[in-house]
Symmetry: C2
Subunit: 342 residues, 2 copies
């Protein structure tokens, strides 16, 4: 570019007014998530949340930041952007739930090549739906147009959740003992992990498209890949209230093999059986079409188990009674913090 006329911010690919207009349309979704602690309006410098300190003896804030990986590329391929917002919130809710915490509020960051108002609104709508479902206020956010950093037409969606737990109710795995039962809760699909591999297999190698219908999936590839990451708060909150939980592990990148050890204390290991819970058809498809070796599947995918709950053997029946679609998938044994998948 050699033109030497006056230059504006918009010439450089940044359109503040377009971003402001998109934010305005999304405000209604955001306000619908507000809970009693929220003090601020949309658009102030920082989000304000008053802590209900009277309700807590020794409150500990539990926070986590994450994205949804290249699931955003599947969303783009399918032209459907509301579900990834739900994925992100539910993922973060689960990440702090495993330490015993309930969500207070959430902040999002959208980084993109160029803000598309409709995509932005769909993303915020999805974030808001999941925030409402989890009783979590969408208290802040930021949108950044970064031409050249993001590939053309691409975006990344990042979320941060802040939750709270009573200090003496923090779950850190220290209650886990050999003989404890390992329960699995079903995932809806890939949740938010393994998408780079899945896209490579299905879109690049197999030449499938998001709207390709496959009998073995009972629907389209896009629908199967975009199945919403499940929040386990509704199921596991009552279990926490009943003090039935020794530990929980959110099965994300690294699968059962890498995530379960994070809550195993010294002297404990886990023996877990594959395929006790129904394996969603998308995993069988990926394993076959890759082909992806079994041990690689174990690390790249959750293979149908989205959350693991460890309970005392004596509490197994009481826990399973409260968890209609859970099953015992293994048990804690003596060992060195490893997971044996059988």
């Amino acid at each position: 570019m050699t033109d030497k006329g006056p230059i504006t911010y918009r010439d450089a690919g940044v359109d503040i007014e377009a971003a402001t207009a998109a934010l305005s349309r999304a405000k209604d979704h955001i306000r619908a998530t507000f809970t009693p602690g929220c003090l601020s309006n949309v658009g102030s410098f920082g989000g304000l949340f008053e802590l209900p300190v009277g309700d807590w003896r020794r409150p500990v804030l539990v926070s986590s930041t994450d994205g949804v990986g290249t699931k955003v590329k599947v969303a783009a391929a399918a032209g459907r952007h509301d579900t990834v917002g739900q994925d992100l919130v539910n993922h973060c809710v689960n990440d702090i739930l495993v330490q015993g915490a309930r969500p207070l509020f959430f902040l999002d960051y959208l980084g993109t090549d160029r803000v598309d108002g409709e995509v932005f609104e769909a993303l915020v709508r999805g974030l808001s739906i999941a925030c409402r479902e989890n009783g979590c206020a969408l208290i802040g956010g930021e949108t950044a147009e970064m031409p050249g950093v993001y590939a053309r037409g691409e975006y990344d969606l990042v979320g941060t959740i802040i939750g709270i737990v009573e200090r003496d109710r923090i779950l850190d795995g220290s209650r886990v003992r050999p003989g404890d039962r390992i329960l699995g809760l079903p995932s809806t699909g890939l949740h938010t992990n393994g998408y780079s591999l899945a896209r490579k297999i299905l879109f690049e190698r197999e030449g499938l498209a998001a709207d390709t219908r496959l009998d073995e999936l009972g629907g389209t590839v896009g629908d199967a890949l975009l199945a919403v990451h499940r929040s386990y708060l509704g199921d596991l909150g009552p279990l926490l209230d009943a003090d039935l939980v020794h530990a929980m592990a959110h099965i994300t990148g690294g699968g059962l093999v890498d995530n379960v050890p994070r809550v195993l204390p010294e002297g404990c290991a886990a023996r877990i059986e594959r395929g006790v819970l129904p394996v969603p058809p998308i995993f069988r498809l990926l394993a076959e079409r890759g082909p992806v070796p079994v041990k690689e599947c174990d690390r790249a995918f959750n293979m149908g188990v989205g959350m693991v709950v460890i309970v005392a053997a004596d509490d197994e029946a009481a826990a399973l009674e409260r968890l209609p679609d859970a099953a015992r998938i293994g048990e804690v044994v003596a060992g060195d913090r490893a997971v044996e998948l059988i």
Copy 2:
């Protein structure tokens, strides 16, 4: 790609082990930021921070999430990645400071095409330096490799800060009155705004490089552009303690024109004089080389004013005494929440 051999996660461009190794090297930096509230180790599912509730009557959490814009591309051009981490933390510290809050903890997210261990470590080192300087724990983070979402070799760095303020000490602009003085605190340069425009002018139009030395800058283009975003916590914390502040505005995207109105109540406007504080040479260079019209400079850049503090006329002397490099740049007048730059 038509090869049908077995496929692994690494084949799809995701190398979990490389990311884990990079995280391991960064852990020492992170641990050095820990403050007494921190309960968790690096690498647990969520970050744990115990609130010192006994110290607070009605604590309000103030949070903000942000990035550093395409300053990351300047960092890449200069091959120097530690300063953008500092930029990000200081930016977020300022964003909640203007509501009266002090930082508690921080979480970062690095999204990238492919993790470069050295870059990652430099980023975390920068984050950690600034977290320590601001008494803020780096309590959590996430690294995501997203080939195809991020352009080749590019990354985005996102941060979320959580701070705290007593409810009756929240600054929301309601104390501002006509006649109040508007003080400006110097910026170090662009801080984290206007980089897409600056890069377009200096790198694309003018063909300069990060290591080009210019007499008017007294150094290289890269050094001027990478000047670290200043944290105003050290200067303004004591002013808050002394209850001398009616309002503060962090001058980010949109400049004085868009940011000062965010803290003006109904019935108030601002008259601010340009150029009272020294204008860093980088702004004159950008304005001349663009050329960038004055009114566009007002919105795209901070033009040397990184933070605005509004104080009662009677408190002006006491405030300026505590702020060695600040100056009165304007005053609050009767009006409709507009900023007149003269």
